[in-house]
């Protein structure tokens, strides 16, 4: 499900079936690093939207968790853990954090959920059919991490 009015209506009625939260982790930066951060963001968004589309009955795609590139690892971790704890209190059991930002690989999120790091590629200049295929291929790497938790 998506973070939209329409989907929250469905969510209210089907809560017990929706137990997995997907949270994109997006670095934000201006200047020299802006281009890279946009590229990562766009890629991560396509990827998580694909996951949502395939698994919308069980997965809620939450708004992206954004942070300045210079924010310390500690701070980021605390904020993100607070997000997860909050939604856990409200009925979510599984958390999947999806990012293209290498920095997260050094941060231990095990207690909060599953971290998936996928190297980004530029998607905006791809022809839609190709893009769909490329995104699907990457998604196939992530999906088992999610569905394994369910069984």
């Amino acid at each position: 499900m998506k973070w939209t009015g329409q989907d929250t209506v469905v969510y209210e009625k089907a809560k017990e079936y929706v137990d997995t939260a997907v949270i994109p982790l997006l670095p934000v930066a201006g200047g020299k690093e802006q281009q890279e951060s946009v590229l990562m963001g766009e890629f991560t968004q396509y990827l998580t939207e694909y996951l949502e589309k395939q698994y919308m009955g069980r997965v809620y795609l939450l708004p992206p968790f954004t942070y300045l590139k210079e924010e310390s690892g500690e701070e980021k971790k605390n904020r993100l853990t607070a997000w997860a704890a909050h939604f856990e209190k409200h009925g979510f059991k599984y958390f999947l954090f999806v990012t293209a930002d290498m920095q997260w690989r050094k941060i231990n999120l095990e207690e909060a959920g599953e971290l998936v790091w996928i190297p980004a590629f530029s998607v905006h200049d791809m022809e839609p059919g190709k893009r769909h295929q490329a995104i699907e291929q990457q998604a196939q790497q992530i999906i088992p991490l999610m569905t394994q938790q369910w069984t």
């Binding site: 089907a14 079936y17 589309k53 395939q54 698994y55 009955g57 069980r58 839609p128 059919g129 769909h132």
Partner: protein
């Protein structure tokens, strides 16, 4: 979640080509009324909605195969392409094309991915199951069969039209 609602509004936009924000808003208010009045005409024009999936009739077997195809959407703001999928196979002497969207809560179903039930469609989300012709299997969460595409065979090639619900 609501493929249905989207389809309706896209169709409205397709039908009434609109320019400008004012027209857009006015149409938003008028469209439901106009639509009721024009609906039969819309149905009759549905032919043009068929798209080729690049597969010929003799490439089909009894085993459902997944095809992805793109449809053009014009929602009044911009034109975009959307990828859709179908499970296509031969069912007796007709060609059947099922929507992969689980009728429980909308996850994507796959053919033969559940080891215990290889001859069924399986939904990974809450383990919904469907027979080959899309009939939902009692005791699993889905309460109605998978939706079907309208199918047309022209010169041996397969074309898919709109998606219909069955109960």
């Amino acid at each position: 979640m609501s493929e249905k609602k989207h389809r309706v509004s896209r169709r409205q936009f397709l039908t009434y080509t609109l320019t400008g924000v004012g027209g857009f808003m006015a149409a938003g208010m008028l469209a439901p009324m106009v639509r009721m009045a024009l609906d039969p005409a819309l149905e009759a024009g549905a032919d043009s909605d068929f798209v080729s999936i690049g597969l010929s009739e003799d490439e089909l077997s009894e085993e459902p195969q997944r095809v992805d195809f793109t449809v053009e959407l014009d929602d009044g703001w911009y034109q975009s392409e959307q990828t859709q999928s179908a499970w296509v196979f031969r069912n007796g002497d007709e060609v059947m094309a099922l929507s992969p969207i689980c009728t429980h809560l909308g996850c994507t179903v796959n053919w033969g991915t559940n080891e215990e039930n290889p001859e069924e469609f399986f939904c990974p989300c809450h383990f919904g199951r469907f027979e080959r012709d899309g009939t939902n299997i009692p005791g699993t969460p889905p309460t109605r069969p998978l939706d079907v595409y309208e199918v047309e065979v022209r010169d041996g090639m397969i074309y898919l039209g709109q998606i219909n619900q069955r109960d």
